[in-house]
């Protein structure tokens, strides 16, 4: 059974162990470890989750309880770029619902979906702390401010990516 569980890469293990070095028990780095693996693989598969749990000396069920609590741990595959569109109050006042409809039409995906070419996944996110620049969204690690419906073409390319 254990042979079926793929080992974490050396790089992943090195990064996880560096976190473990300054906490009392390995399980304390559960969230860091999930993020490290996600940074390398894009998301956290069942196999990854089991391998992390074993390494942190905790049950897979317990780690799953942690993983599913946090909205930025992806337990399903996502596209190369995750679009986080703010739908909180200041962005709502400035028209984020219409913007979302426009993005969905342009990329052909609803919230939670990934484009067939795997380039984009569209997700809603809560207030991004840039409310003076509403409406805002993140594409990957980049923040886009004061986005207008016209400006979307520049972000995703006129053909919708």
């Amino acid at each position: 059974m254990t042979d079926l569980i793929p080992v974490l890469s050396d790089e992943e293990l090195r990064e996880i162990n560096a976190e473990i070095a300054h906490v009392p028990v390995p399980a304390a780095v559960a969230i860091d470890a999930l993020k490290i693996v996600q940074a390398h693989r894009g998301w956290v598969s069942d196999e990854s989750l089991q391998a992390i749990a074993r390494h942190l000396e905790m049950s897979a069920e317990e780690l799953e309880g942690v993983a599913t609590f946090y909205n930025l741990i992806f337990r399903r595959p996502v596209g190369e770029n995750v679009i986080l569109l703010c739908n909180s109050i200041s962005c709502w006042i400035k028209g984020c619902d219409k913007l979302q409809a426009k993005i969905s039409a342009q990329l052909g995906i609803a919230l939670g979906e990934t484009t067939p070419d795997n380039r984009y996944t569209l997700l809603p996110v809560t207030c991004l702390g840039a409310c003076d620049k509403a409406p805002v969204m993140m594409v990957g690690e980049e923040l886009h401010e004061n986005i207008s419906e016209q400006g979307l073409g520049d972000v995703f390319g006129e053909d919708g990516g």
């Binding site: 993020k35 609590f69 986080l84 200041s90 996110v125 809560t126 702390g129 840039a130 409310c131």
Partner: protein, 437 residues
């Protein structure tokens, strides 16, 4: 902005440049940086605490709890059992409408680090964490660079500047969820668990991270600490216009001409912030109301514009200053849709631990959705009122998320009741063409 604004002492944003480029170690030190650290190390921890207490610094994370008093509950010296003591910076900043801590961390990361070293020294903590929300990639990187630069200079690590004091500092990047900002939930999350809040007592000051004494403070609170230690309690008191001391980062978002965030004297009048700094309303829009400090504060209206933005004044007016970042409700945005958006946020972000919040908030959101879409019934008004009374009562829920969620609803029912009734009587949203609803 009007032309001749007075020149103000702005300790927190003095290194903030117009283009918002970050201040590095060299520029920070050239402008007096790490002088506060040297001043602190030349004093005893007890003397530092006394200055903090005398300064009347109140927590900038939302509740306004006096920082010196909060710190005085941490066991010191022989009264503290052997083991770690922790200082945690709450950089989760997820309260809807709040965008001040991002500015402080992205523009002047060293200021936060220096404030934290001085705070940790005052508490004699040996480990410090910056708990930062996942989406703040730039701030996370800049803070890590600032920490590394401090280690290289001997401002962090063992025997800091020859004082014999040791401190290690780590940045922990979170993985989402608003509830992580609640200080006991934050501690659970830092231990690698689901972010469920913990029962108090025991308070974190006595039993926090890993059961050890722990202080959690907001970014803006900690950014003040070394300034106060270096320049004194009287200086800090003199910055405020009213009884509350210091400066405050005030923000305005919504349909104003110049949304933004400014460091101003504590107690600056609301009108001045909205009209002078935020430039007043956008052409064609009128102000109907505002949430003074984030999504979990009660609406105030036009009649409150001349109030001073400080904890006590806004509290007496029936709201809270909260984070000091106002959200403006204009006359073309539907108040029901506005409150529905906030309630859906709180319902989604409930940690699920207690029933009134987990099941109550989605119910409130559903009632608001019905009203917004013209499916509301007259008795829905009573339902909302009952929910506010039950979910909003402190003690019925395990933490302050659910009572906070009721604040915009209860005040909207008070100030914008006729809007709710127009939805119910007319069977549709009267704002449908305008705004976003």
């Amino acid at each position: 902005m009007s032309g001749a604004l007075p020149v103000l002492d702005r300790p927190l944003t003095r290194n903030v440049r117009a283009d918002r480029s970050p201040t590095d170690m060299a520029a920070y030190e050239a402008n007096g940086g790490y002088r506060g650290l040297r001043a602190a190390l030349a004093m005893s921890a007890a003397d530092c605490l006394q200055v903090l207490k005398d300064s009347n610094l109140r927590g900038r994370g939302g509740a306004g709890f006096p920082t010196g008093m909060k710190w005085s509950f941490v066991p010191m010296g022989d009264a503290c059992s052997p083991g770690h003591k922790y200082l945690i910076c709450n950089a989760d900043e997820m309260e809807p409408g709040t965008f001040k801590d991002r500015l402080l961390m992205e523009c002047d990361p060293h200021q936060l680090v220096e404030g934290m070293i001085c705070a940790a020294y005052t508490l004699q903590a040996d480990v410090a964490y910056i708990f930062i929300r996942a989406e703040y990639h730039k701030a996370t990187r800049l803070l890590q660079e600032a920490i590394d630069a401090c280690k290289a200079k001997g401002y962090l690590g063992d025997n800091i500047l020859g004082s014999g004091y040791n401190l290690e500092m780590h940045v922990h990047s979170s993985a989402g969820r608003y509830i992580c900002g609640e200080e006991t939930a934050l501690i659970s999350s830092l231990e690698g668990k689901r972010a469920n809040p913990r029962a108090k007592p025991p308070f974190p000051q006595v039993s926090g991270l890993w059961g050890r004494p722990t202080i959690v403070n907001n970014v803006e609170t900690l950014c003040n600490v070394h300034h106060i230690i270096e320049r004194g309690a009287d200086w800090f008191q003199s910055l405020g216009l009213t009884a509350d001391a210091g400066t405050k980062l005030y923000g305005v978002s919504g349909r104003v001409k110049n949304p933004g965030c400014w460091e101003l004297p504590m107690g600056t009048p609301v009108r001045e912030i909205i009209e002078e700094y935020a430039g007043g309303m956008e052409e064609g829009y009128q102000l109907r109301g505002f949430l003074p400090g984030g999504g979990s504060t009660d609406f105030l209206t036009v009649e409150h514009l001349d109030l001073a933005m400080d904890y006590d004044t806004i509290g007496k007016a029936g709201s809270r200053m909260g984070t000091g970042t106002m959200i403006i409700l204009d006359d073309k945005t539907c108040p029901v849709g506005f409150v529905k958006n906030l309630t859906e946020f709180f319902a989604q972000e409930s940690c699920g631990f207690c029933t009134p919040c987990r099941d109550g908030l989605p119910w409130s959101a559903q009632v608001l959705d019905d009203i917004e879409h013209g499916r509301g019934l007259p008795e829905d008004m009573d339902t909302l009122q009952r929910q506010v009374a039950f979910i909003g009562a402190i003690g019925n829920t395990h933490c302050a998320l659910a009572p906070g969620a009721m604040e915009p609803i209860q005040s909207a029912l008070k100030y914008f009741r006729e809007d709710f009734e127009r939805h119910i009587d007319g069977g549709s949203c009267p704002y449908c063409d305008g705004g976003n609803s």
